[in-house]
């Protein structure tokens, strides 16, 4: 509307943050994303979904990564014309447990939330493990 032209130049913002692997990492990630979204005009529902999915993926890296406890978690996020992309990387070997270790049944809600709410998402294992997702909405 009556935004300054400089606002239009700011169509792409990004963030890259090393999180200490610990209980506080999800809260720090949520706060960082809140900062990135600040005044970007993302719809409230998009912002809430973004905070939730980011928190889930960071929690998973804290809880499930089989990487060393002292290896940090890398949080990358970018907003490009209303499309948000978040990637969370840990030092673990990936998702797949040895088939004979079947003490855990079914999955939880974290990845299910990604599947339901993200416009796209994925998991990559390349040395470490990266989980990413994209959300799109109005800027």
């Amino acid at each position: 509307m009556h935004e300054a032209p400089t606002e239009h130049a700011r169509v792409k913002d990004s963030l890259e943050l090393e999180l200490e692997r610990g209980n506080q990492a999800p809260a720090v990630a949520r706060a960082a994303l809140r900062g990135l979204c600040h005044e970007r005009g993302l719809s409230p529902s998009l912002r809430h979904t973004l905070a939730l999915l980011t928190s889930e993926v960071v929690s998973n890296a804290v809880l499930h990564s089989d990487g060393p406890a002292e290896a940090p978690i890398l949080l990358q996020a970018s907003i490009d014309s209303g499309r948000v992309r978040v990637a969370v990387s840990d030092a673990g070997e990936g998702f797949i447990e040895k088939p004979r270790d079947r003490d855990r049944c079914g999955g939880g809600y974290g990845l299910y939330l990604l599947q339901k709410a993200a416009s796209s998402w994925g998991v990559e294992s390349r040395g470490g493990t990266q989980v990413w997702f994209e959300l799109s909405g109005e800027i």
Binding site: N23, P26, A27, A31, H48, L52, G110, Y112, L113
Partner: protein
């Protein structure tokens, strides 16, 4: 920008009714705290548990899992659970999973 999960609980027990009021962010750090308080009230013999979520700014899948578990317990052990509906941001996880339809959300605190 180091920041911890912000979370507080108020607790009250009167006439078999346990009341918890949670505020802040409900995540993997704070959900176990809320769970502990809820189980304590049940051990003290609460036949009704009212959890006021109006002060919550965020709920993740740990919170969702906790409420689903409490709800199953309530059915199994025959006590009553009521969740006072949180504001929009904290409803997101219940909306996406459609748990909103299955959990005992109520809109207003029922005062005795």
């Amino acid at each position: 920008m180091v920041r911890a999960t912000q979370f507080e609980i108020e607790c009250d027990f009167q006439e078999q009714t346990g009341r918890l009021a949670a505020s802040g962010e409900l995540d993997m750090v704070s959900a176990p705290v809320l769970e502990k308080q809820a189980l304590e009230l049940l051990e003290r013999g609460a036949s009704e548990l009212i959890i006021d979520l109006r002060g919550l700014t965020f709920v993740d899948s740990s919170g969702l899992r906790l409420f689903i578990a409490l709800n199953q317990r309530a059915t199994a052990d025959d006590w009553k659970l009521a969740l006072i509906r949180p504001p929009e941001p904290a409803l997101t996880v219940f909306r996406i999973t459609r748990a909103e339809e299955n959990l005992p959300f109520v809109d207003h605190p029922r005062t005795p």
